[in-house]
């Protein structure tokens, strides 16, 4: 640097040279933030797809006739729930039908969460300001984030291609399937970045992005079920997977549409980043509050206040899905009565007793535990996020024991799971009543509430992680429902030993309302959930607080 005694020189002559390509340096930092998640999601997606394809080869290749396939493809209910069944006689086609949606949802949600994390999350934490004080503009940062996320999506897609090729499926179908999964990841990522530009908080931005992505799934379901609305399928990556029909027609036209949609989202995100203030979103939210909430005067009130909005949002989403389930009841039943082969096949795939409306409802209510479990785990993850952001320091500097506060929070979330499941039961009943399917309100409620013990298991697992593995609250929390469901489906599809199947909580659920409630199984799960939560609380009381 210049010294006082030096002769007056041109300013900056002895300053270090400007490093070239600050954007590349930023990109490298983004890669560092995303690489671990990318590898994990790529391994799960590729591994799961390859695994199912291989198990299919071993178990029942060639067991289905062509006429049955045609009937299946034509049924609106089957199409609505599982997507259009094509090329089921091919291991690749079966894999796409059975796991395509699951893998696409997983990869897409990860993309959305990663997208908000590296944009809005970094901005919330104040780290973006540090970067922007260098020679990088916000718009450049957003474009780089999109580029790195798209790279991550490509890696996930490539992993699926490799997995399917290793499982011995047709190369053309593998390439198409992997491209579609990669494209879904990119769609989620672009939605995440867009959400991060629009909303001023990470949690809200993540919610918007994931909500839009899952609305795409709902649009696919409606488009597949209602002929007049079939154009909806073109709007979402999930619909486009069906349109492309990997391992059957292998159409690449829908891939072009997907690329176009991703491009539109990316351009919107980049445009939203131009000219906005750092630290706030396009939508700023109210600066001044109305009358102060009376809830915010005690711990239980705070717990209710924190849980309220999430419960309403999840109830609305789950309610919309199950309204559709209810509306489809008659069409599905008619089809299964006409084609008993499929009732049998569905039974081996985890959907037993589909032939009565009660059986149909029961099969779908068991699915309910997955979103409700994710809701419960998400609330505990929000508690952890508050801790990391130091928002609990003031609370815990008051005469507030950690166990007492966390218990109130858990109680509020447990009550929330009952609310969300009850809403699902009610909307199913409304839908089924609309089409005169003959499902009683009590039956619908009982069936829906059967999912509560599994959701509580998720809550318990999340509490366990809160105490002992605070960096993985969400992942551990969704494991009993999402992992357990996958385990059950795989175990029943491929005839795995019963002890392995028994590890899944779903193995201990009765098909309510087709069967009476399995009181012992439900109580057992609640007991395990309480035990997990108690062990978690012991750890939570003892460990150092973060943030």
């Amino acid at each position: 640097m210049t010294t006082r005694t030096a002769p007056p020189a041109a300013p900056g002559t002895d300053r270090p040279a400007l490093p070239p390509h600050p954007g590349t340096t930023v990109g490298r930092g983004l890669v560092r933030q995303l690489r671990r998640g990318t590898v994990v999601v790529a391994l799960i997606s590729g591994g799961l797809a390859a695994f199912v394809a291989q198990e299919y080869e071993r178990t029942f290749s060639g067991a289905l006739g062509v006429s049955s396939l045609t009937a299946l493809a034509e049924n609106p209910a089957i199409r609505t729930l599982f997507g259009p069944p094509v090329a089921l006689d091919d291991p690749g086609g079966f894999t796409v039908w059975r796991t395509g949606t699951v893998v696409a949802v997983l990869a897409g949600i990860w993309g959305a969460l990663a997208g908000t994390r590296i944009t809005r999350g970094e901005e919330d934490a104040g780290r973006t300001e540090l970067l922007l004080s260098g020679r990088v503009r916000l718009a450049t940062l957003v474009r780089r984030s999109l580029a790195v996320l798209f790279g991550a999506g490509a890696v996930v897609g490539a992993a699926v291609v490799v997995g399917m090729l290793l499982a011995g499926t047709a190369p053309a179908g593998s390439l198409l399937f992997g491209t579609l999964i990669g494209g879904t990841t990119m769609t989620g990522a672009a939605l995440g970045v867009l959400g991060g530009q629009v909303l001023p908080e990470r949690r809200a931005a993540s919610g918007l992005a994931v909500g839009l992505l899952l609305a795409g799934l709902l649009a696919r379901m409606v488009g597949d079920g209602v002929a007049a609305l079939s154009w909806l399928r073109w709007l979402s990556p999930f619909g486009l997977i069906g349109r492309a029909a990997p391992y059957a027609e292998n159409r690449w036209g829908p891939v072009l549409v997907l690329v176009l949609e991703i491009a539109v989202l990316a351009v919107l995100a980049a445009a939203a980043a131009e000219g906005r203030d750092v630290g706030s979103g396009r939508w700023r939210g109210r600066e001044r509050g109305r009358t102060p909430s009376r809830l915010l005067r005690s711990l239980p009130g705070l717990a209710v206040h924190r849980t309220r909005r999430a419960t309403v949002t999840w109830s609305a989403g789950v309610g919309a899905y199950f309204l559709l389930i209810g509306l489809l009841a008659s069409a599905m039943l008619q089809f299964l009565r006409d084609n008993p082969v499929f009732a049998q096949m569905a039974a081996t795939a985890g959907f037993a007793r589909l032939a009565t409306v009660q059986g149909y409802a029961a099969s779908l209510f068991s699915l309910l535990a997955v979103p409700v479990g994710a809701y419960a785990a998400g609330r505990v993850a929000a508690l952890m996020a508050d801790e990391t952001a130091s928002r609990l320091t003031l609370v815990y500097s008051r005469p507030v024991g950690r166990v007492r506060w966390a218990t109130w929070e858990a109680v509020a979330v447990a009550a929330g799971t009952v609310v969300v499941t009850a809403v699902a039961g009610l909307t199913t009943w409304i839908g089924a009543t609309w089409v005169h399917a003959g499902l009683g309100p009590g039956e619908a409620l009982r069936g829906a509430l059967t999912a509560v013990p599994v959701a509580l298991l998720c809550l318990g697992a999340a509490m366990l992680a809160l105490g002992w593995l605070p960096s993985a609250v969400l992942a551990v929390g969704v494991l009993p429902a999402a992992g357990g469901y996958l385990l059950l489906v795989l175990a029943e599809s491929f005839g795995w030993p019963s002890w392995l199947r028994g590890l899944s909580p779903f193995a201990h659920l009765a098909a309510v309302p087709a069967e009476p409630v399995d009181v012992v199984g439900a109580l057992g799960m609640v007991l395990v959930a309480l035990l997990l939560a108690a062990v978690g609380l012991v750890g939570y009381a003892r460990r150092d607080l973060r943030g």
Partner: protein, 309 residues
């Protein structure tokens, strides 16, 4: 090092007492064998360079971190018994994080609702004094305004112990003056204040005793006056005519850094009793004698210097 045990009333426990308090984060020893007593009613300044372990100590006092060794008590209640210990204290963290969707009023209501009892009238007075707009949502607050929320909530409790971790880092000078007034009022009411701060002028103005932490160890605990006495006093001597006898003043006990700015002006640093130097000066023809006590900043920098050495 030197932990000064104060003989507080035997039946009334001191506000803060730690015994061999230690915290290790994996390979880092953040706080090392900290033994400290803060008697009731004292305004105690807690000083130390960045990373010395001040916040870690405070977080252990609050029960947010579990000590690796040793123990701490708040008014005789172990810090592990959070619900009981926190009935006696209020805290202002260094970095105040609030729920972004809550208004300032909602945050204050919440903290009052779960706190050790809040004087609502005094709180309204504090809101006015700190010029806080409580109807804004926390996301619209600046760092200083978030800090005001925590300060108002803490002072309004009138809790017997205030644990303040750099509470004024985001405040403007006017608000800082208001903060000092609140501290003075708290002291008049007999509240104890445990103040960690980098604002040495602030500590000097309000604290009666300070502890200096360095690399996790307590290197000094003393009253501000004692600290000054123990430390070096700067002595400036002006002579009417040269005094060759004073050439050997550097050999006297406690004398260092002797500098002759001219043959008639002498500056030296003195530690300990001034007798020998005064006797030596008595034989010279002294026109002016100036003895200046070091500021807290100089004392503090002295400790920093030791760290570098």
């Amino acid at each position: 090092m030197t932990a000064i045990a104060h003989s507080a009333d035997t039946d009334s426990a001191p506000a803060v007492r730690t015994q061999g308090l230690t915290k290790r984060f994996q390979s880092t020893l953040a706080v090392d064998d900290l033994t400290l007593t803060v008697p009731r009613g004292e305004i105690f300044g807690f000083l130390g360079p960045n990373g010395a372990g001040k916040s870690t100590t405070i977080r252990m006092l609050l029960g947010l971190l579990r000590p690796t060794g040793g123990s701490a008590e708040i008014f005789g209640v172990p810090t592990t018994d959070v619900e009981r210990a926190h009935e006696h204290l209020a805290h202002v963290p260094a970095d105040v994080a609030l729920w972004p969707g809550f208004t300032g009023r909602e945050c204050l209501d919440l903290l009052a609702g779960i706190g050790p009892g809040t004087d609502i009238a005094y709180r309204d007075e504090l809101i006015a004094r700190f010029e806080l707009d409580p109807h804004k949502r926390a996301r619209a607050y600046s760092t200083g305004n978030r800090q005001k929320v925590a300060l108002v909530a803490a002072f309004a409790t009138r809790a017997p112990l205030l644990v303040l971790d750099e509470p004024t880092s985001g405040l403007d000078p006017l608000m800082e003056r208001e903060f000092r007034r609140c501290i003075t009022e708290a002291a008049e009411r007999g509240q104890t204040v445990f103040l960690s701060s980098h604002q040495l002028a602030e500590v000097e103005a309000v604290c009666s005793r300070v502890g200096i932490l360095r690399a996790g160890r307590l290197v000094e605990v003393a009253g501000l006056d004692d600290l000054r006495r123990l430390r070096r006093t700067e002595v400036v001597v002006e002579l009417a005519r040269p005094a060759p006898a004073l050439e050997r003043v550097a050999e006297l006990p406690g004398v260092a850094d002797v500098r002759w700015s001219s043959t008639l002006e002498l500056t030296l640093a003195l530690t300990g009793p001034p007798g020998p130097v005064l006797r030596a000066l008595g034989e010279a023809d002294v026109v002016r004698l100036d003895m200046r006590e070091p500021s807290l900043e100089e004392i503090f920098l002295d400790y920093y210097g030791q760290a570098a050495a």
